[in-house]
Symmetry: C2
Subunit: 366 residues, 2 copies
């Protein structure tokens, strides 16, 4: 069979579940740390696991260009290559071809483009994307799709969604079923309820191990995103995991869980950490700010991560000013820990039947 998904508790539309994959279990709602180029930037894998992270995301676009999917396969697969023995989800490459590659050209067959690294020419099709993800040994493979831009007219969003649905069928036809491995479909349709409904129906008809909501977190306001989730998530099979791609801020995550989302990924905690921004109880801190230069307090007095246990704001400020690598290491660790603590709190609240209160408090705060 594919990957397992058990729902142990619900609280409103929020679900407390568990994924079972070839490389282990994932408690949901889950936040996946982004490991773009076969590393969660500035973190040792053991430290990533210590934050409570149970699954990491690899980027097909980056890995196919460097070091190459077949090279990673020859070295024993992505888990062994990057020393992450737990579950891995890979994206399809579709999103980053659009945002990073040069001279890209989309046809019915797929996308041709030039590498942003060395200008070399490449092609990605649904078949090739699935093949690459298989070579990487991803536990969860994503369908190759076109991420519909925002804003887009109804006509453009419809064309784009329909192309993605044809690519989803080709992705499903290519995917090799294996125990503990699964293929996720991606619902598109922009901000248009009829298109989202049509996409959800077509994906359900094909049948996937899980269902992602794509094309969000591309610049639309939070209330627009939540509206789309209100319409879209109920149209997805309830017994399968729901994954909101590329989201988001803590308040986005809580609001999406309240709407039935089980899985998330976002560069925010890791990228912010490298840029000197810390997520703390009630907001964020810019650690570049001189106000921290003499502050002996930890980033967050309520946090149990090693950064908060052992280092002052003054020290972190100093490391950032001195452009020290340790700044990125300590802030990334803290931010990931902060996110994973949020996910653990969400899971506990759903189990306790108090998630609605948590979500309401969060909506008010943000």
């Amino acid at each position: 069979m594919s990957i397992g998904f058990d729902i142990m508790a619900t609280d409103g539309a929020a679900r407390r579940g568990r994924l079972s994959t070839a490389h282990g279990k994932v408690e949901t709602p889950s936040f996946m740390a982004v490991g773009t180029a076969a590393t969660v930037k500035a973190m040792l894998p053991g430290s990533v696991a210590a934050t409570g992270t149970q699954i990491v995301l690899g980027n097909t676009y980056h890995l196919m260009l460097r070091p190459g999917a077949e090279r990673i396969a020859g070295l024993g697969g992505l888990h062994k290559f990057m020393n992450w023995p737990g579950p891995i989800l890979t994206d399809s490459g579709g999103y980053q071809v659009m945002s990073l590659a040069d001279l890209r050209k989309i046809t019915e067959d797929g996308v041709t483009f030039q590498s942003h690294i060395d200008g070399s020419k490449h092609a990605l099709t649904p078949e090739r994307s699935i093949e690459i993800q298989h070579a990487l040994d991803a536990d969860i493979t994503m369908c190759f799709d076109e991420c519909t831009p925002f804003p887009a007219t109804h006509e453009d969003a419809k064309k784009s969604m329909e192309l993605s649905m044809r690519w989803a069928a080709r992705s499903a036809a290519t995917f090799v079923p294996r125990d503990g491995y699964g293929l996720f479909g991606i619902c598109q349709g922009g901000v248009y309820p009829d298109l989202r409904a049509a996409s959800a129906a077509q994906l359900t008809k094909i049948g996937f191990a899980g269902y992602a909501v794509g094309g969000l977190a591309v610049g639309e306001p939070q209330d627009v995103m939540f509206e789309i989730l209100d319409q879209t998530v109920p149209a997805l099979p309830a017994d399968r995991p729901h994954y909101l791609m590329g989201v988001g801020k803590p308040a986005d995550i809580v609001g999406a869980v309240a709407r039935g989302i089980d899985m998330f990924d976002c560069v925010l905690p890791t990228r912010s950490g490298r840029n000197g921004q810390a997520f703390v109880t009630g907001g964020t801190l810019n650690m570049r700010n001189a106000v921290h230069a003499d502050d002996p307090a930890p980033l967050d007095a309520q946090c149990t991560c090693p950064t908060c246990a052992d280092y002052s704001r003054a020290y972190l400020h100093h490391l950032i000013k001195a452009k020290e690598i340790l700044a990125a290491m300590l802030l990334t660790w803290h931010n990931l820990h902060h996110y994973q603590t949020l996910m653990a709190d969400i899971r506990a609240a759903i189990e306790a039947g108090t998630f609605a209160e948590m979500a309401a408090a969060f909506a008010q705060e943000s």
Copy 2:
């Protein structure tokens, strides 16, 4: 009393000793990891300790400019600031003022200069250097000296050494004796035996907790350095630790231990790690080289560090090509582990009375 130094065994001129400082013991011969700006670059302090490192070096020049010595004192001292509870040695700032600062001017009183960071004007005198190192709470404080350039005429080397000796007396007069804290004198004199002898005699007369050999590792060939050690080390008090500043490659260290040196510091393992160079049994590897791209082997099959346990050369090569922070983290860890394993091997060989054989094998290899 000052810092303790017990010699437990000797093998020829090589000594197996133990420093006792306010923040713990240090087994000698010892390699100090360089922690320039209050961090051993790309390493968590716990990882530094895991390599076998027992003492780290902080740079007075860097720390006085950013974040400032009095600021660190206000935050509880350098140990607490950088989360390194073990012994710390600080240099005097003299060497780096000469190599990094702008518009420097030397007088009998000291050095005035402009910060290489922001152009601000500063002064370092023997008194101020000792005061800064006290504020940082260094277990081992170094005398403020002028590092004699190489090459230098006998006349220039003599003038420079004599200035350093007057500064050494002023440093000793300023240093506040405390239990577990010590001041080290620095022998200068360039490549001239008579000047080295005069310097050693003057320092011995003043009396220090330890004696450093300065002005080496500045471009002279290894045999010149060894000759100077052959002449200089016997002139230093035998019951006190001998520290060779800024040295060096593994073969330099082994050769210096054979000549009675007990302590070392060098940026080589950490800086090389950030530049993609790995120290391995019998030599070095340039991990940027494409020959490693498909190599599943660890850096060094004989090494027990986490980098060698969990990662392939292919992965490390990939991280370097992708400019990933983890490359610096893993290579620095390995290189420091390699150096500390060398020091442990040296200590074991002295204890076993087999150090001469080890040194001979090393001299042949390099």
